[in-house]
């Protein structure tokens, strides 16, 4: 059962009466009368067990994009029902307003639409559906809560897709489709074609020209069909919050941008999420299906508060890759990385593959370094400077082992990694 505000308002009528009578007895009797009316109302309300409900929920939505979930309600009873229905969701699903008015004649149905604006990546689960049906006096009524599971997968935002067009243009510059052609490392022989005025005379293939009656030039294009393996760290360091979101969200953004770019460039993309076990593995998917598969599989990932197992990760990488490949490791490079065995595990991997580390920095550390408020700020600045120096030292040790290291704040990491990929590709180091 439940009470409505009308019952409260009606009780309040007793206050002036009691004051006028200088006695609480009329108020007590008035409340007793209202209690009786509430009892009548509850007994007289239609049964919520004659109301059938069904949820119709979209399977997925991109973060920050609005969507709508529907609750279908049908009155199977013999009486008209008035009241409310609540379509409850987890708070970060952003279902608002979740309460709807109900007014259904016998046999009628209605579709209640709840607008949603998710505020967090991952699987959002629906709560129960609650029905409130008013009694004839509208003072009270009956309430029933129904379990009705539903899930909405909130996909990563992929805000970094705004960087994609400019990176694709750079890729075309590398590619034979563009006017600027360069030969050398990082490009492979594409084909022979007839010389047209304007071609670089240095690219004339004299041997082929000798065999034919016309002048023939060689064309080049960037390497294709290289393997790119993106290893997303989901361990402890991925859980730390930078600004308002965990580090993992920034690395997922970088993964999506790099995957989109690399697949457009004709490379084969594999993605592995790892902490101490493989949390997600997307491999052998190419073309249009890749991005949706990535978004879907990376969406429910949550960081775990574990020490990462880098040796195990290196083993997984070896197992997946036959030929030389680009291994992109998205994590955090800090003093703790040495302790967790990152250097030891990466050294052998860097001999066989090109390893690129994309490290997500905390911009707050930079602010702390320059903070000069009082003495305690100075001490904090000292600690922050020490942290930066240690991180720079670790990055230096990694570079000496042939590992490329790029680092940027959460917004900048995706384009930074994409640029590093283009640089390596142009240099033919894939």
């Amino acid at each position: 059962m439940f009470l409505t505000w009308r019952a409260v308002a009606l009780t309040a009528v007793g206050v002036p009466v009691a004051i006028a009578a200088s006695s609480a007895v009329p108020a007590l009797m008035w409340v007793a009368l209202i209690a009786l009316a509430v009892g009548v109302d509850v007994l007289g309300a239609p049964s919520p067990r004659t109301i059938a409900t069904r949820r119709e929920t979209p399977t997925s939505v991109r973060l920050t994009e609005p969507t709508t979930t529907s609750l279908l309600v049908r009155n199977l009873g013999a009486r008209r029902v008035r009241g409310w229905a609540r379509d409850a969701w987890q708070p970060s699903a952003g279902a608002d307003p979740a309460r709807h008015r109900l007014d259904l004649a016998p046999g009628d149905g209605v579709r209640l639409r709840t607008p949603m604006l998710p505020t967090r990546r991952g699987d959002r689960h629906a709560g129960p559906v609650t029905l409130r049906l008013l009694g004839p006096l509208t003072l009270a009524g009956r309430q029933l809560t129904l379990q009705q599971p539903a899930t909405l997968r909130v996909l990563p935002e992929f805000a970094s897709r705004k960087h994609l067009p400019s990176r694709l243009a750079r890729l075309r510059e590398l590619d034979g489709r563009s006017a600027v052609q360069q030969r050398g490392p990082g490009s492979e022989f594409d084909s022979l074609r007839e010389y047209v005025i304007g071609d670089d005379v240095r690219s004339i293939d004299w041997r082929a020209t000798a065999r034919r009656s016309e002048v023939v030039v060689r064309t080049w294009r960037p390497e294709r069909d290289r393997q790119v393996l993106i290893l997303v760290d989901t361990a402890r360091s991925a859980a730390a919050r930078i600004g308002d979101t965990p580090r993992l969200d920034a690395t997922i953004e970088a993964t999506l941008l790099l995957s989109a770019l690399a697949s457009k460039a004709g490379d084969r993309v594999h993605v592995v999420a790892y902490d101490r076990t493989v949390r997600a593995r997307i491999t052998g998917v190419s073309g249009a299906g890749l991005m949706s598969a990535l978004a879907d599989r990376l969406a429910p990932l949550e960081p775990r508060l574990l020490e990462p197992d880098w040796t195990g990760a290196a083993g997984v990488v070896r197992e997946m890759l036959g030929q030389r490949a680009l291994v992109v490791l998205l994590t955090d490079v800090g003093p703790g990385s040495v302790d967790s065995g990152l250097l030891r595990a990466l050294a052998p991997l860097a001999r066989d593959h090109q390893v690129l580390i994309g490290a997500v920095d905390d911009p707050e550390i930079g602010e702390l370094v320059t903070a000069r408020g009082d003495v305690s700020d100075v001490y904090t600045a000292a600690a922050a400077t020490r942290f930066e120096l240690e991180r720079a030292a670790v990055a230096e040790r990694l570079r000496r082992r042939g590992v490329e290291v790029v680092s940027a704040d959460p917004e900048g990491i995706a384009p930074a990694v994409a640029d590093a990929y283009l640089r390596l590709k142009a240099a033919g180091r894939l």
């Binding site: 009691a18 108020a27 007590l28 059938a52 069904r54 709560g127 508060l305 020490r386 942290f387 720079a392």
Partner: protein
Amino acid sequence: MTRTVTAPPGWTLGDGSTAAAVASERWVRLRWISIVMSIVVIGVIVTTLAQPSSNVTPLSTANAGDEGARAVAQILRDQGVEVDEVATLAEAYRLLDGSGTLAIASFTYLDEDQIASIGTHTGDIVWIEPAAYALSGIDAGLAATVPSTSSGQVEAGCEAPAATRAATLTDVRAAYTITGDAQSCFTVDDAAAYVEIQRDGARPVHVIADGALFTNASLTTDGAAALTLGVLGHDSRLVWYVGSVDDATLLAADQGGSSALTPAAPGWLVAGGVALLLVALVAALQQGRRMGPLVTEPLPVVVRASEATRGRGMLYRRGRARGHAAAALRAGAASRLAARLSLSHSAPRAAVVSAISQHTRRDAAAIDSLLYGPPPADDAALTRLVADLDALESEVSAS
């Protein structure tokens, strides 16, 4: 009549329970609490209705029991006397306004000043069974003696008008002796049960040794009614003082507070308060019934990435690790300066110093001591060092 409805495929209809099952489960869970609560509520209502606006204070005009004095007040009201019960002397003063009868029916303690202030009242003053310590304050000649109780009728034996009208009293307690211009009435073994003290320019003071005369139980016996109504009914105004424990006021106009504690609230306020309380209770029930349970959600960790660095800074400070802090700040500044001046990461100290010195035209020794000098002695020195390092860096990057 029950109608059986079935859900269409894919729809949810009910949760498998029935209203009766839910109700009986709730009843089983809450029966003891609800039974006890209803007994308490019914008990409160019954007692409230059975004795409306009554109390149990002895000699109170609102007390309808054997010990109360409601009958006296009722009879006087019927005779056109305005009767008001008060708990403080200040209130009595306000109601009396200089004339009328003041009856001191009962009190816990009155000090000399209070008794003296009562004595200044020019209307009738009726003391009912005053304690022995108060007697000398009422009249210098009044004294307590061994109390004795008559077994039978006692004659008035005096000329006080109220006493002569009463003529006889039965089983009366007597306790006072009096000297001077006064009437001793209903004497038992030299102790008087009623004393009337004449005053110049004022109505007399009446002292009655037996409060039982005024009670509802014994008012009808013999001359009790005649005596009590005689002493109380002279004026059309009667203020009946039943002193509250904390009454510290005087029978006078000029005083700060009427009572140490708050006086009894007026009836309408109490009734309104109770009614409001009921409204609050109903509102709480209405708001407290949630429309379905809260939906929980596991949230990510709330520790910020920079937390460890801040903690380390605090450790530096608490441990007064100025050496460590200064070393870190110097190393950071040196590495930034080296990068700015395109020196290699591992450039030796002398090379860094000379490069900066050339760039800024500053003294090399000063730069060397700034970047590689001894650790600062105190926090002020550390702050100065940071300021100097910042100045050097901005100088290098500006040029």
